[in-house]
C-alpha cells in the first residue's frame, strides 16, 4: 500500500532533536527580534515612549560595563538578603507544614493564618520590619539587612508550608496503611515515606518563591535605613530622572531573578534525576 510521504515540515516537527533545538532557538530568536526592534526604536514608536524614559539597550549595557564594581556591590547585598531570607523562610515553612501534619487539629488553622500573612503587601511589611529591627544592632547595615531578610522570609514561608503540607499528606494510596502494618515508628514514616514524597513539592514551592524573594528584597530595600541594593538604586535613579542608569539596575534585577531560577532548575534536575 502506498503511503504518502510526509512533507519535510511535518517530519521535522516530529523529530525529537529538532523539537529540542527549537525549544532553544525560538526564545533566542524572539529575544533577538525584541533587541533589534528596541535598538532601532521601533518599540518606542509603537508605544509612544521616548529614548529618554526607555533608553537603548546599547546605552544601558555600556552603563552596566562602566559601573560594574558598583553594580556588583549592590547585587551582592540584594542577593544576600534574597537568598538567606528564602533559605530561612523555606525551612520555617517546611517545619510549619510538618507541625500542621503532626498535630492535625492545630495545623489546618495554622496554615490558613500563614496564608493570610502572605497576603500582606511587601510595601506594608517592609516599613514595619524596619521599625521592628531598630534595636537589633547599633550598626545600620546589619539591622537593615535583618529587616530585609525578615521580609523575604515571611514571603517565602507561605508557599513552602502549603506545598510541603501537600507533599507530606498526599501520599500514594495505602502507603500509610502499609507503614502502619509494618509498625513503623513516626520518625521512620517521616524519613522513609513522607519526606521523599515531599521533595518534588519543595521544588514547586521554590519555583514560586525564588523569583518572589528577589522582588521582596528589592522592595524591602526601598524602606531600609541603610542605603544599598539594586532596588534602592533603581529608586534613586528614577527620582533623579537618570533613566539609563535606572534601567541598568532594572536589567541587573532581571538577571538576578533569572540566575536564581536557573540555579534552582539545575539543583532540581540533579536531585530528581533518579526519580520516575
Amino acid at each position: 500500500m502506498y503511503t504518502r510521504k510526509k512533507n519535510i515540515f511535518v517530519r521535522m516537527s516530529e523529530n525529537v532533536n529538532v523539537q529540542k533545538a527549537l525549544g532553544v532557538i525560538l526564545p533566542v530568536l524572539l529575544g533577538i527580534v525584541i533587541f533589534v526592534l528596541w535598538q532601532t526604536q521601533v518599540i518606542h514608536k509603537i508605544f509612544h515612549v521616548d529614548v529618554f524614559t526607555l533608553p537603548l539597550p546599547t546605552r544601558i549595557v555600556s552603563i552596566m560595563i562602566d559601573n560594574i564594581s558598583d553594580i556588583l556591590i549592590n547585587t551582592k547585598a540584594t542577593v544576600f538578603a534574597a537568598a538567606i531570607g528564602l533559605l530561612i523562610g523555606s525551612v520555617i515553612g517546611y517545619v510549619i507544614a510538618w507541625v500542621a501534619d503532626r498535630w492535625k487539629g492545630f495545623g489546618s488553622g495554622g496554615l490558613i493564618i500563614v496564608t493570610a500573612f502572605n497576603a500582606i503587601p511587601i510595601v506594608a511589611l517592609a516599613p514595619v520590619m524596619t521599625n521592628w529591627t531598630r534595636d537589633v544592632s547599633p550598626d545600620a547595615s546589619v539591622r537593615s539587612m535583618v529587616s530585609k531578610i525578615l521580609v523575604v522570609m515571611i514571603v517565602s514561608i507561605a508557599s513552602m508550608s502549603i506545598n510541603a503540607y501537600r507533599g507530606l499528606t498526599e501520599l500514594k494510596p495505602y502507603a500509610m496503611d502499609m507503614m502502619t502494618s509494618y509498625a513503623a515508628k513516626r520518625r521512620e514514616v517521616f524519613w522513609k515515606l513522607q519526606f521523599p514524597n515531599s521533595v518534588p513539592y519543595i521544588f514547586t514551592a521554590l519555583r514560586v518563591s525564588a523569583p518572589n524573594s528577589v522582588i521582596s528584597a528589592i522592595v524591602a530595600e526601598y524602606f531600609a535605613e541603610y542605603i544599598i541594593g539594586v532596588g534602592r538604586q533603581i529608586r534613586e535613579n528614577i527620582v533623579l530622572a537618570q533613566y539609563s542608569t535606572a534601567w541598568a539596575y532594572i536589567l541587573t534585577a532581571c538577571i538576578i531573578g533569572i540566575v536564581f531560577y536557573v540555579v534552582l532548575m539545575i539543583v532540581e534536575a540533579i536531585i530528581l534525576k533518579h526519580r520516575k
Partner: protein, 380 residues
C-alpha cells in the same frame, strides 16, 4: 472530645498573639512615643557643644539622617566641610527615628518636619525648645530649593503663557507672604495633607524662605534668580551629585547657569505694571505639577488660583499635587503637565540625563533644610 477543644483553643490563642505581635510593630510607627521629651534631660534648652562637635559626635555614632533621593547633597557637603565621611542613614518621612534616637541628627525642613518636632498640636512630637538646629545657610552649604520651571520647547512656543503664568504666580506669592494665615486657610481649603495648625505654621516658615536670602537679608523681588545663590547651588551639585551614566556626568560638569534658566520671562513679568502688557497667552489651559502633597509649601500658586490672579492673566490653571516618588521633572518633560516645581539640583540632574528643562523663576531664596538634634543627646 475535650482534647480537641483544648487544641483548638491553643491554636486560636497562639495565632491571635502572633497577629497582635505583628500589629504591635505597626503601632510603634504611630504616635506611641509622643511626649517622650519628658524623659531625662528634657528640660535642657541649650548645649555648650559647637555645631562642629555635634556633627562629629553624630557622625561617629553613624546617626545622621536624611531622606536621600536627591535631598542629601547639603548634608554631604556639610559632612565634607568638617572632614567627615559622607555616609548618612535613610530617614523615613515621619520623625519617629528622631523621636526614638535611632537618628540623633535628623534632617528637617524648617517649614515641615521641624514644626512636627517642636510644636505640640495633633501629630507633632512637642519637643518645644529642647531641640537645637543647624542651619545650612549659616553653614555655607545651602542649595536653592523650590523653583518654577517648564521645558525649553514649551517656553519658546508659548512665551506669553510663561510670562503671564510667572506674573500671576509671583502676585500670588507676594500676597501669600504678606498674609500667611489667610494663605494657609486657602491651601487647607484646596485639600490639605496636614492639619490646619500645621498648615498655618508652614505658611509662616515658607514666607521666611521666600523673602529672605541665604545671608539673611530681606528679598524684595520675589522669584528672582540670584546669580550667587544659583552658582553656589550649581557648584555643590557638581561636587556631590554622582551620576553613574558617564555621558550624564560629563554633561553635569559642563552645566552653566544659562544652560538651565532663562531670566527673560521673569524680567518681563516684573517690568509689567498691571500684567496687561504681557501679550495674549498662546496656551490658556495650563497645569502645574507640585513636588509634594498640597500644603503651604506651594501656597503662592493656590493663592493665585483662589484670588483669580491666573484668571485675570487669561489662564485656566490646574494644580496637580505630587507625593511619594512622583518625578516632577519627568512629568513636565513628557508633557503631562506644563509647569513644575522642583529643586534646582533635581532640574540640573534631569537636564544632565537628557531633558531640556528651563527654570523661569526661583521662589525659595534660601535653603529650608536644617539638621535637628535633642540637646539631651549632645552634652559634653
Amino acid at each position: 472530645m475535650m482534647r480537641k477543644k483544648w487544641k483548638k483553643t491553643i491554636a486560636v490563642i497562639s495565632t491571635v498573639s502572633m497577629a497582635a505581635m505583628l500589629f504591635a510593630g505597626c503601632g510603634s510607627s504611630g504616635n506611641k512615643d509622643m511626649g517622650s521629651g519628658d524623659q531625662t534631660g528634657a528640660d535642657l534648652t541649650s548645649t555648650s557643644m559647637t555645631n562642629e562637635e555635634i556633627i562629629k559626635k553624630a557622625a561617629s555614632e553613624g546617626k545622621i539622617g536624611n531622606w536621600g533621593l536627591g535631598n542629601e547633597y547639603e548634608v554631604e557637603a556639610l559632612l565634607e566641610k568638617y572632614g567627615l565621611p559622607t555616609d548618612y542613614l535613610s530617614q523615613s518621612y515621619d520623625m519617629d527615628s528622631f523621636d526614638n534616637d535611632s537618628i540623633t541628627l535628623a534632617s528637617a525642613m524648617t517649614f515641615n518636619e521641624l514644626g512636627l518636632v517642636k510644636n505640640d498640636y495633633e501629630g507633632a512630637y512637642g519637643y518645644g525648645d529642647t531641640v537645637g538646629t543647624i542651619d545650612m545657610n549659616e553653614e555655607g552649604v545651602a542649595m536653592l530649593e523650590d523653583n518654577l520651571f517648564c521645558t525649553r520647547e514649551f517656553a519658546e512656543q508659548n512665551p506669553n503663557t510663561v510670562k503671564n503664568f510667572v506674573y500671576a504666580s509671583i502676585k500670588g506669592w507676594e500676597y501669600a507672604c504678606e498674609h500667611p494665615d489667610e494663605a494657609a486657610e486657602i491651601v487647607y481649603k484646596y485639600g490639605s495633607s496636614v492639619s490646619s495648625e500645621h498648615q498655618a505654621y508652614m505658611a509662616e516658615e515658607v514666607a521666611k524662605l521666600v523673602t529672605t536670602d541665604m545671608d539673611g537679608n530681606p528679598v524684595t523681588d520675589i522669584g528672582k534668580m540670584d546669580d550667587d545663590a544659583m552658582e553656589q547651588t550649581l557648584d555643590l551639585a557638581k561636587q556631590y551629585v554622582t551620576l553613574d551614566d558617564a555621558a550624564a556626568a560629563k554633561k553635569l560638569k559642563d552645566t552653566t547657569l544659562d544652560s538651565f534658566r532663562d531670566t527673560s520671562y521673569y524680567d518681563a513679568a516684573v517690568a509689567s505694571t498691571d500684567g496687561k502688557d504681557l501679550g495674549t497667552p498662546e496656551k490658556t489651559d495650563v497645569s502645574i505639577q507640585l513636588k509634594w502633597l498640597p500644603q503651604a509649601q506651594f501656597m503662592g500658586y493656590y493663592v493665585a488660583l483662589d484670588k483669580g490672579y491666573y484668571k485675570d492673566a487669561g489662564l485656566n490653571v490646574e494644580i496637580v499635587p505630587g507625593g511619594g516618588d512622583i518625578s516632577e521633572t519627568t512629568a513636565v518633560n513628557n508633557g503631562t503637565v506644563d509647569f513644575g516645581v522642583t529643586w534646582v539640583t533635581n532640574l540640573v540632574s534631569a537636564n544632565a540625563g537628557g531633558m531640556d528643562l528651563l527654570e523661569v523663576a526661583q521662589i525659595y531664596q534660601r535653603s529650608g533644610l536644617d539638621l535637628v538634634y535633642k540637646y539631651s543627646n549632645f552634652l559634653e
